[in-house]
């Protein structure tokens, strides 16, 4: 937990540090890293109930579009919240439909959902379709570091919720649901509620991150916002960092996204390869993630 606090503190302080000519680039990349790490934290929350989603790209995108569309009417913060809420509502639909699906079938169903969403956005006029949607900057551009601090805030919120849930009673319910759903029910765990709650919280956070992303990049396209790349990042990071923890996705996110950004500079289009390779290597050699290097027994907390 200390590590989490430390990282967040660093994030807050970053703009104040003397960064020289790299400043704009570093702050920009840092924002991206924060948002993707937040997405990863959100994914991890849902994974705690045994639901391994490939829909988080769609949640990110939904939040992005919803916030972008709402901002001119209601202002930055309400739009972001709205984006999160809309995403959470959609996720509940998905969650309800997939209650009885597990493993591979669940993953494929969420992927199918994601693709359908993408096509809908692509084909709808009001979202700008294939041409894309220009987005107002955060707070109408009044604060130059507006979206930066929003990104930090979202990351802090995601980390906070992740930590909180990890230490709450709900943690036992989520873990029991994950490790033995039928048995959990017989022990009285309200499995349906737990799974849906996880969906809603996870999607809300993902949507928030998406919204801030929209206000940072100032332009949305369905290929970018709903790209499978987001879904891949969302799942590889927690696995690499350490599932069902807070430090795992956070640390893993910062490391991997930095790697990704560096690679993107070097090799252009194929930079996602790093995710693929890292995933394969992690499963082969460090299946419990980075955090396992420091772990103790039981489900514990971190």
């Amino acid at each position: 937990m200390m590590l989490v606090g430390l990282l967040l503190l660093l994030a807050l302080m970053l703009p104040g540090l003397p960064l020289g000519e790299w400043r704009a680039f570093l702050l920009d990349s840092a924002q991206f890293a924060f948002l993707i790490s937040a997405l990863a934290l959100a994914w991890d929350l849902l994974a705690r109930t045994g639901q391994l989603s490939l829909a988080h790209g769609a949640f990110f995108g939904l939040g992005a579009y919803a916030a972008a569309l709402a901002a001119p009417a209601v202002g930055t913060l309400p739009a972001l919240l709205l984006g999160g809420v809309v995403t959470a509502l959609f996720s509940l639909l998905l969650g309800l439909a997939t209650l009885r699906l597990h493993g591979m079938y669940f993953a494929i169903a969420t992927l199918a959902f994601s693709e359908v969403m993408r096509t809908l956005v692509l084909k709808s006029a009001f979202t700008g379709g294939a041409i894309g949607l220009p987005v107002q900057p955060a707070f109408g551009g009044a604060f130059p570091l507006g979206s930066y601090y929003l990104a930090v805030a979202v990351l802090a919120l995601a980390s906070g919720i992740s930590l909180f849930l990890g230490r709450s009673r709900l943690h036992y319910a989520m873990t029991a649901t994950r490790q033995g759903e039928a048995v959990a029910r017989v022990l009285g765990v309200p499995v349906v509620r737990v799974k849906l709650l996880a969906f809603a919280i996870s999607a809300f956070l993902a949507g928030l991150a998406g919204g801030v992303y929209a206000m940072k990049t100032l332009f949305l396209s369905p290929y970018d916002a709903f790209g499978l790349g987001r879904a891949v990042e969302a799942l590889v990071i927690p696995i690499f960092g350490g599932l069902y923890t807070t430090t795992g996705p956070l640390l893993g996110g910062l490391i991997i996204v930095s790697l990704e950004t560096w690679l993107r500079l070097r090799i252009g289009e194929g930079y996602l390869v790093v995710y693929g390779v890292i995933l394969v290597l992690t499963i082969l050699f460090l299946p419990r993630g980075l955090v396992s290097l420091f772990r103790r027994k039981g489900v514990g907390h971190a």
């Binding site: 009673r169 036992y172 319910a173 873990t175 029991a176 490790q179 033995g180 039928a182 048995v183 959990a184 029910r185 017989v186 022990l187 009285g188 765990v189 309200p190 499995v191 027994k297 039981g298 489900v299």
Partner: protein, 238 residues
């Protein structure tokens, strides 16, 4: 305490339960026996809510629970221990029990739950293994865990599914003692069993099933002497 009327369930062409009537009195230990495929496990699944019946009625403590989901039945006091033990493998024994204690009844605080776990872990002899991962237990310890976990949900009626399976005779004796102590603590027990010595030692009453129907009820001696029961187990004399 528990009243079952006309319970029926079929799977495709197979009739797993047909017009099952039975009652469980508070404080008793009731055994359900019968040859393989008689429908005993189906009955237990219907009672605990993992299956819904096609017809019939289940009433527990005066309330109808026929269509209630498993969680709700547990909250009302109907607990179950599985035959094939499924501990939460990546949680410690303590944590496994805690799940049962926290969620077995609505609105249980962490403090209260931990108190329950403490008491039951002592009673079932699992205290030394409290911090062991459940995935690393021996078979006997697994079974104790299963029982303890179900007890943590504070059931009024506990459904036991062939708990003796796979135990050595000495271990089985221990298990019998444990079930007796459970009854003494105020929990009514309904158990499925194949080993007749266990049934005779534990059961106040016995219900015999065959082909999904109840074919006899009563005390062990009465039931053992019943020709229909003998037929069911040994086959019709040609």
């Amino acid at each position: 305490m528990l009243r079952v009327e006309g319970l029926s369930k079929r799977f495709g062409g197979v009739v797993a339960a047909s017009g099952v009537d039975l009652q469980v009195q508070p404080g008793e230990i009731l055994a359900v026996i019968g040859p393989n495929g008689a429908g005993k496990s189906t009955l237990l699944n219907l009672l605990s809510g993992l299956l819904r019946p096609d017809q019939g009625r289940i009433e527990f403590l005066g309330e109808e629970i026929t269509q209630a989901p498993p969680e709700v039945r547990t909250w009302k006091g109907l607990g179950r221990a599985f035959q094939i033990v499924q501990p939460f493998p990546e949680m410690t024994v303590w944590e496994n029990l805690l799940v049962g204690a926290l969620y077995g009844k609505p609105n249980t605080s962490l403090k209260v739950a931990e108190g329950v776990v403490k008491e039951i872990i002592e009673r079932t002899g699992l205290a030394p293994k409290a911090q062991t991962l459940a995935g690393e237990l021996t078979l006997l310890e697994d079974k104790r865990l299963e029982l303890a976990r179900a007890l943590c949900t504070r059931p009024r009626l506990l459904l036991l599914d062939e708990v003796m399976a796979g135990l050595r005779p000495s271990e089985a004796l221990e298990a019998v003692e444990l079930v007796r102590r459970i009854r003494e603590s105020g929990v009514t027990v309904l158990f499925i069993e194949h080993l007749m010595p266990v049934v005779r030692a534990l059961a106040d009453r016995v219900v015999v099933m065959d082909y999904g129907q109840v074919i006899a009820q009563g005390r062990y001696d009465e039931v053992a002497a019943n020709p229909r029961v003998r037929e069911a187990y040994l086959g019709r004399a040609s």
